[in-house]
Each structure stands twice: as C-alpha cells, then as structure tokens.
C-alpha cells in the first residue's frame, strides 16, 4: 500500500490510529503488528510470508546466540549462519537475475532463468534484521524475548518498505515504552502532510519534466534541455524520498515512536563528504557502523583506507540496485570521497562558499544521471550530451518550451530544498497559528486532488 494513496490516507491510517488509541497499552503492539501485516500484504500477498519468515528466523537465531553465550559457547557459528541466510535471501531476490545476465553477457550464453519480482522493502527490512543480529552478537543490545515486539520492529508499517532504516538499538526502549500525547500527534500530522505535499505536488510534477525530456526525439534534444532534465530529477528524487521519510517519521510520531532523521537539506552541502552526511543518513550510518568501522575505518594505512572506502561504496551502489550503473554510481562517489580526503579536500575548504555549492551540486547531478538511467550506456550518452558531445545545439525551441512551462516549478523546487521555507512556516505557525493550519489543510486538499486525478506515481525508492 502506498502512503500517497486514497486508500491509505482515508481508510487504512484513520482506522489504524483509531483502534490503536482505543486499545489498552498491552494490546497496542499486537494491533500495530496486525496493521503492518495487512499494510504489507496489500501489495505483496505472497511475499508477506517471506517478511514473516525473516522476522521469526532472526528472532529465533538471536535467542539461540544468547542461549549459547550463557552456556559459555561462542555464538559465532549461529551468527555467521544467520548473516549468510539473510544475505542469501536478499541476493536470491535482488541479484540472481543480475548475476545470470552478467554470466550470459560475459560467456555469450543464453541460459534460461526466471528472475523474480523484488519483494518491496526487502533491502530495508533485511538491513534492519542484520543490524539487530550484529548488535546482539557484539553485545550492544539485549536480546528481544517477545516475538511480537521483534516482529513489530521489523514489520512496523511506517518504515517497512522504504526506510528510514531503523536500528534495533534506537528503538528497543520504544517497543516497550513510548510517549503518546496530543502535541506529538500534532507534530506527526504536520510532518506527514508536508511529506505528502513534497511527494505529490513537487516530486511527481518534477518527475514529469525528466520523463518528457528523456523521451525527446533526437531532433529536439539540446544541451540545456538535458541540464533542465537532470536538474528536475535532482529535485524529484529529493522530494520523493525525503517526502516518504517525512511521512514515515510523521506516522511514527503519531504512534509515539521517534525515528532517526534521514535527510538534512543535502543540497546545501559544500562538499561530497558533507552531502553523504546529509543524504539517506540511515543507510550511510548503517554502512559506517556495520561495515566501514569493522573494516578498520580511517584508522588504518592510507592504502587500506582507500580500499575500505571503495568496498563500502561499491556495496552502497549495489544495495540500490542490481545493475552496473548502480555499481558505477557507488564507485563514482567512493572515488570522489577519496579525492576529497587525499587530494583536493583542503583546496575545497578554502574556496568561497558559492564555488563549493556549485561543485557539489554539479557532481551530485552527474551522479543522478548514473542513478536514474536504465543502464550504463544510456547514462554515459546522457552525460555526453550534457557536456556537448554530439551535434546537439546549446538550446532550441524545446528548451524554451520547458523553461516557459516549468521555470516556476523549478524555482519553487529549488527554494523548498533549502531550510528557509520550513523556517518561515514554523515562524508563521508560532505567530499566526490559524494561517498555518489553513496552509496545511490547503496542501492536504491539493495533494488529495492530485491523488484523485493523477496517474500512478510510485516512490522511486520502492524499487530498492
């Protein structure tokens, strides 16, 4: 089920919240688990069993590790087994087709295989399960003895299918005790509406620009049009994914949970290093805690450090998708981070702020070409045109058409990606609460109207 759908907003969420608040505390977790299973099975009636298997399996293995440790046995074997099974499930659904395509491509064979549809959210909930198993193994968290609470941790519907990737240690206490009050509910509702508006009003419309530009016939392509296209996508993916995270965090607040922030105005960054501290924070911190630091982090010789960065970023790319362009996208950032660390980082630090902003945005936009393209050759062709490769003019009538029809949307998008609008909104809510509520209702009504009349627009991160 989509957050940005009439069924979710007008049926599922109100009913879930109403029953949740009416039930006594002891039954709240049970109800949330039931609601989460209904939510997931709405779109994945078969794969819900896989998600439940993952929950029961990881719960059970963690308890086994705990028992072994108490008996004085090293739980390493159980830990390794659990990690391998988790990675096998993820690999089977996500990378099997990619592996077979690669083998067929390299060997020139045509081995028949059935590539299976990717279960929604598998990358997110598998990483959550792994964070729990690793933390139990390291002794960072107590083992969860209630199967209901553990299954709820993995299946909790606000963050189940597109994050934020909630680490068990961050939510352990909240599974038992969480604060529910009107103020928190109100903040959650505001966050949800703002996230919905980002997705429905901004991301979907910006996405149309990029889609149209990508489908232009050869005689209508120009260099500037392609820059407009990738700028629109740059804004689209931010509003799409951060909008989803806002909705997830907002629903979490309504239910009394506090999830970690997933975005911190990434396009205000002044370096790539800073960008990755602000973009998809829950994934970056996951890789940092469970892979980069165990590999030695930066407390090793430079060569080993460079290798660590490349390993982490190749896997970050692969996490996003089973395709070479995602590997290239990951390595692209890995190499840039190495360059910032060892080659020109100090030079950037000394440059004027506007130069640093432009440098970061340019690199990020080129990165999004790799990310959004069907394959590597399409991406390279797009990048080539952006930099004048081929016979394409700097601009043409199509460029003017896109500018005339979308300039306002692009400017609004660019402005909303900064901190200012939310700061103004908060000031407005403090001084003129009525006007603030009116604006929120207006956003909500416009978003609903878009949902009723527009075609289907899934979240970009659902495919991961």
């Amino acid at each position: 089920m989509l957050f940005s759908s009439i069924t979710f907003i007008y049926y599922f969420l109100p009913i879930t919240l109403l029953v949740y608040f009416l039930l006594p505390k002891v039954l709240k977790n049970v109800w949330l688990l039931i609601a989460s299973i209904i939510f997931y099975s709405w779109g994945e009636p078969v794969y819900v069993f896989l998600m439940l298997f993952s929950s029961i399996f990881n719960y059970s293995m963690a308890r086994d590790m705990d028992r072994e440790r108490r008996k004085g046995i090293n739980p390493k074997m159980t830990f390794m087994f659990t990690v391998v099974v988790n990675l096998f499930i993820l690999g089977f659904f996500k990378y099997y087709g990619f592996l077979m395509d690669t083998i067929n491509g390299i060997l020139g064979t045509s081995i028949h295989y059935t590539a299976l549809a990717l279960p929604i959210g598998i990358s997110f909930y598998t990483f959550q399960a792994l964070s729990y198993i690793i933390d139990v193994y390291w002794g960072n968290v107590r083992v969860q003895t209630s199967p209901i609470k553990f299954c709820l941790y993995l299946a909790l519907f606000p963050q189940l299918i597109a994050g934020p990737i909630v680490k068990y240690k961050d939510i352990d206490e909240q599974l038992d005790n969480r604060q529910l009050n009107v103020e928190k509910f109100g903040h959650g509702s505001i966050r949800f509406i703002l996230g919905l508006s980002k997705k429905v009003i901004l991301a979907n419309n910006l996405g149309l620009i990029y889609d149209l530009i990508n489908q232009l016939p050869d005689n209508k392509i120009s260099i500037l049009t392609y820059w407009i296209g990738i700028f629109a996508y740059t804004l689209q993916i931010y509003f799409d994914f951060s909008g989803y995270s806002d909705m997830a965090i907002g629903i979490g607040k309504m239910l009394g949970f506090e999830f970690m922030e997933n975005f911190n105005y990434p396009y205000l960054s002044k370096s790539i290093t800073e960008f990755w501290r602000r973009w998809h924070i829950s994934l970056s911190t996951w890789f940092k805690e469970y892979l980069y630091i165990p590999l030695g982090g930066n407390k090793v010789a430079p060569i080993r450090h460079i290798l660590n960065i490349l390993v982490v970023w190749s896997l970050t790319g692969l996490w996003h998708g089973a395709s070479w362009n995602f590997v290239a996208w990951g390595l692209y950032y890995g190499i840039l981070l190495i360059l910032e660390k060892y080659v020109y980082g100090r030079l950037i630090d000394r440059a004027p702020n506007f130069v640093r902003h432009i440098y970061t945005l340019l690199i990020v936009m080129i990165g999004w070409v790799l990310f959004s393209s069907e394959n590597l050759s399409t991406a390279l062709s797009y990048i080539g045109i952006m930099f004048g490769v081929g016979k394409y003019p700097l601009m043409n009538f199509t460029t003017m058409y896109f500018l005339k029809t979308n300039l306002l949307l692009l400017i609004i998008g660019g402005f909303v990606a900064t901190k200012k609008p939310i700061e103004y909104f908060n000031i407005l809510c403090e001084r003129k609460r009525g006007l603030g509520i009116f604006l929120l209702l207006l956003f909500f009504v416009i978003s609903t109207a878009y949902l009723v009349f527009s075609t289907y627009n899934p979240f970009l991160y659902f495919r991961f």
Binding site: L2, S5, I6, T7, G43, V46, F49, L50, F53, F57, S60, M61, D64, T78, F81, V85, I89, F92, G97, T114, A115, L116, A117, L118, I120, D211, Q215, G321, E374, V452, S454, T455, Y456, P458, F462, R463
Partner: protein
C-alpha cells in the same frame, strides 16, 4: 542444529514454490493474442490503441517489451484485459501498482450508481508470471486467465 535445518528447509520450499510459480515461457504477444481469439470471446472487446495505455492506465507503452490491451468502449462498461510483457522484471512491481490504482479509480468512479461494475472491479484479476503482467476485469476473467496461463 535441528532448528537451523528446519529454517533452511522452510526457506528452500518457499523459494522453490515462488520460483516455479514465477516461471513462464517466452511467448510473443502475437501468439497470446491468437490463442485468446481462438479460445475466448475476446473479440467482443475492442483492441485499444497504444496511447490508450497512457490515457487509461497511465503507462507509456514504449517502456515495455510489448502489450495487449482490449477494452469495452461503452461508457458504462468496466471490462478490460491488459497483458504486458516487460523488458526487466523490475518493472513488474510498478505495473502491478499502476493497475491496482486503475481498479481503485474505477471503483471510486462507479461507486454509488454502478453496483454491477463495482462488483466486477472488486473481482479484478491481477497476476504476474515470469516477465508478464495479466490484468482483467470481466465476467469471463477466469477464462481469460486460464487461457493466458496455458499459453505461457
């Protein structure tokens, strides 16, 4: 150890079931069309144009390998049959959600004055197999589905 073995067996059985159920032959849309015409009364519906896929389902036909789209063009009819062969399995999730949205939209359109249409929509069949998506709203939806599954 027995518990670990039990989990592995459950997982393997589940994956085998999913895998065998998801397998499909590589059949051209032309052949599927031929079988449907020979074994069902599909010709009572009208074959839709490429751009109708965008107009009614919100999907660009150029994004997929091939498709077959039949509709009943009467204003008060909700009958339609759509089969899409995708280029990449990754497209199936998006497609599935798009047709679910189509069903939701149609239900909200006919709710209140078209109980027969709503009943048909509520029984819509949405199925994915291999590289194909099958979507059908019709009194004969089961028959269409049976023929489609036999072909692939």
């Amino acid at each position: 150890m027995i518990k670990k073995g039990f989990f592995v067996v459950i997982l393997i059985v589940f994956l085998l079931l999913i895998y065998s159920n998801g397998d499909a032959k590589d059949v051209s849309m032309k052949d599927i069309d031929k079988y449907l015409k020979a074994n069902t009364e599909i010709e009572q519906l009208v074959k839709a144009k490429n751009r109708d896929l965008m107009q009614f389902i919100g999907l660009n036909y150029e994004d997929f390998n091939s498709h077959l789209y039949y509709r009943n063009v009467e204003a008060l009819s909700v009958e339609e049959l759509l089969i899409i062969k995708v280029n990449s399995i990754k497209q199936l999730a998006t497609l599935k959600n798009a047709v679910e949205k189509r069903v939701e939209d149609q239900i909200s359109t006919f709710e209140g004055y078209g109980p027969n249409q709503v009943a048909l929509l509520e029984d819509a069949i949405i199925k994915t197999k291999g590289n194909y998506l099958f979507f059908c709203v019709s009194k004969s939806a089961d028959k269409y589905e049976e023929v489609f599954l036999n072909v692939i």
